[in-house]
Symmetry: C2
Subunit: 323 residues, 2 copies
DNA sequence: TTGTATGCGTTATCAC
DNA sequence: GTGATAACGCATACAA
């Protein structure tokens, strides 16, 4: 027989079953040290809670205590690869260890005020979000709603909020340095045409420095079109490994040799890109340890202690046979 | 001057500023039709709320009404590609349209009771989760906590909960049918060695039917090792496009021609795989419209109406030059 | 050591 | 049309 219509068990239900007061249940379940409870009553409470399948009501708890323990991560519109996924997982792990609950929210949620209102309803303790989704007004709203830490992610530091700087320029710079060190002088840099990727591409291009900018959509036809632009080029930074793969496949078709005619550098060190022949030289991003630093940073902000945002990653070049 | 320590504005604050009662504020903000409010007071309330930056407290609301409007999506441990990402985005969009708030939870959250307790704290209206993360006990706990719709995702229907069946066998079957139709008779099927992928691979292999099973790790060295197994093979279903890429790069190195010596079929129709030469024949999954159907299904369950879970995808074969 | 009482922000039932 | 008022589940100051 199913108990379909039964109301979820409350701490009062647990108290009734255990033969104690509701307050005692709360003490036991929260391990409050200041109120020492007999081992016996403690056991009674625990077993009663177990038997009833009692689970705290997070809403009621947050209403009472004024903090939800939630950390909100509205997902970026930019499709993310293994790196970002790994970072999010690490973040979740670290936050869980500190008793926070990490939640990701809306893949394509509207930005600005509407989004901020939706976020604020949950009364999160912290929120980490792509800076482009924030406005001065929306940050104000979030702060008013009691969000202790509003942290941005962005290629450049924001004036609005403390920002985790995802510095794209150093990626481009590293690629340029390597190509130059290989004696390449006639350089080009790929910038994706795709919406979300374009801004990142422009930043990588900025870091790359002097060189021909080639706008490229992720599409063989587009690659065919830009092929003539490479006539006088002997080194290309391809934005990332995926665009590098696109480029290399097109160059191969055209009979242009890599690295003999043109050297190619990718970025992100995708596992899939290791299958390429020649193997792709790439700028790898190292994010290990970042999540822990970010969580420490968040905790400081939540406590009201000022703190400096950590670096999101370090970069290093992996030289393979495409350069 | 910042108002750092100010308590978030409540509906009472709005009422005070607007010069009305707190109940009236609630009526206005919820557009309750039964209590007709003057257009004038309505405007006063709205402007007061605006000025204060008032945002509802989701916790208090869910405490009072007994439903949170939350739909929880504990993410699967299996790394997901563009397809799953798209599905999640669609789902979010559809749910938002119906007034629900979709939230994804913990990338590597523990399964079983511990996870269920964490989920239940949020008192979601519905939860969609990989069936392997559920146990009979944890489903019971969730139901007791008032979760109206506990929906599984799994290759096979579950006895525990209504299940969105991600039928992998038909993918394998389609690949086999195509290879046979091309006159290939000595068939093999790749099964990934990787943890999360292996079960999916075994299901695809089951659907494939007769043929040599080749266990393969996503790694060029592993591909080298299995190369001898392909000596007598003339058609391979490579599990998915990524493994197909691995395989094709290894075959190319060994001087084995595709499709002349061996025909290859991938799956998932990855954009990146279109760069391959020869171009990869693949089993494509179509998920358009699925999210809407799933949301309709969820809504039924939440209303207490029994309903049949929709199919997650349809499959079709895209023939290119690798077969 | 445990119980009583209160209020967090909200919605909803009832008088007015 | 609008305003008191109660209750949702919980944590905690204080009383016992």
């Amino acid at each position: 027989m199913e108990t379909m219509t039964a109301r979820p068990p409350t701490s009062s239900d647990v108290a009734r079953l255990a033969g104690v007061s509701q307050a005692t249940v709360s003490y036991v379940l929260n391990n409050r040290a200041d109120s020492r409870v007999t081992e016996e009553t403690r056991a009674k409470v625990l077993s009663a809670a177990e038997k009833l399948g009692y689970v705290r009501h997070a809403g009621a708890r947050s209403l009472k205590t004024g903090n939800s323990g939630l950390v909100l991560l509205p997902l970026s519109d930019v499709p993310f690869g293994p790196l970002a996924t790994r970072f999010i997982e690490d973040l979740d792990h670290e936050l869980t260890a500190l008793g926070y609950t990490m939640i990701t929210y809306g893949a394509r949620q509207a930005r600005g005020m509407a989004a901020a209102r939706a976020w604020a309803e949950l009364r999160p303790a912290a929120i980490i979000v792509d800076t482009v989704k924030l406005t001065s007004a929306s940050v104000g709203l979030l702060r008013k709603a009691g969000v202790k830490a509003v942290v941005g992610i962005s290629p450049k530091p924001s004036t609005l909020v403390p920002t985790l700087v995802a510095d794209q320029t150093e990626i481009g710079a590293l690629a340029a340095r390597h190509l130059r060190s290989q004696g390449r002088r006639k350089l080009a840099v790929i910038v994706p045409r795709e919406d979300g990727l374009r801004d990142i591409g422009l930043d990588r291009r900025e870091g790359f420095g002097a060189g021909l900018q080639i706008d490229l959509a992720f599409d063989p036809a587009s690659a065919q079109e830009v092929l003539p632009l490479l006539r006088d080029i002997d080194g290309v930074f391809a934005y990332n490994d995926e665009y590098a793969m696109l480029l290399m496949s097109t160059l191969a078709d055209a009979g242009i040799r890599v690295p003999d005619d043109i050297a190619i550098v990718g970025a992100d060190d995708l596992p899939l890109a290791r299958l390429l022949r020649p193997q792709l030289t790439t700028v790898a991003l190292d994010i290990s340890g970042t999540a822990a630093a970010v969580v420490t940073f968040l905790a400081s902000l939540i406590d009201g202690t000022p703190a400096t945002p950590p670096r999101l990653w370090t970069t290093h070049l992996i030289e393979r046979s495409s350069t």
